[in-house]
Point group: C2
Chain length 143, copies 2
Amino acid sequence: MDKLENNVLYILDKAFRSYHQYASNQLKKHGFSITVDQWLVLKTALENPELSQKQLSDVLYKDNASITRIIQHLEKSEYLTTSQHPSDRRRTILKITDLGKKITSDVHKIALKNREIALTDISTHDINTLNSILQKIINNTKP
Amino acid sequence: MDKLENNVLYILDKAFRSYHQYASNQLKKHGFSITVDQWLVLKTALENPELSQKQLSDVLYKDNASITRIIQHLEKSEYLTTSQHPSDRRRTILKITDLGKKITSDVHKIALKNREIALTDISTHDINTLNSILQKIINNTKP
DNA sequence: TGTCAATGATTGATATATCAATTATTATAT
DNA sequence: ATATAATAATTGATATATCAATCATTGACA
């Protein structure tokens, strides 16, 4: 029976966990009280102000319920405010506060450094290859 | 400010989530009541019977606390039994039951199919490349 | 040999993931 | 115009992730 360690998807699992743990530790080490996932949602909402929570969950491959709770945390931390969509009252409009914009930008600097560390000794060509292979895996497995 | 979607580590995050969700759905669709993470721990323990829970957490990039609770679930499901290590009573010895071996093997068949789907249209050469790049990321970010 | 540090495992608190069920609202079809 | 279906978001239950604190045991060493 195939060993686990020969399965590239198991290596993908470990690479994700290793990077995620590293990024999380760096945030803590620099004194930020926001999680990696909260930051991802915040930054995505900032870059795409028109997205509904449902659409956020789709692009981030997160559950609706997770998005709801992450947004509740972000609101409690005063990184965003929520209001009702004028033409579709089922939807929520997210407005990132100045504080939210500031932490998004501050954390972005850490994220850049994290990426640099994580990609040490990996060529631009290999990064492009990695990118396109990962994209294929996403397409092959998405609902 | 760099867009998120241009960051390969964000693509890695999404690829992991997409595959994990796919694998999880396949397990459920086939009627298994074990989670992907429980199966990973069970299979790793079966392939490496000498590992302590601490070592399991290291090789799987999981938290000690997560391993403890996953093992509690596996024991409750009667997929393994625990006993004290004879020469170091701090350690726990995990013994996979016949039922545990059976489900490990049964789920392995699904895992093979999942891998085939996930890696559709990705060449062996690219898989090797992916493997070595991911390994570099792991080495670059591990504690 | 007795003290103290290091290690393996567990537990509590909080955040996230997943699924199912629910609520509120909007869209569709006669 | 009304009944029904579809959609956006929330909530509850359970599993996992993370950190800190704790307990029991072993190791190191003066």
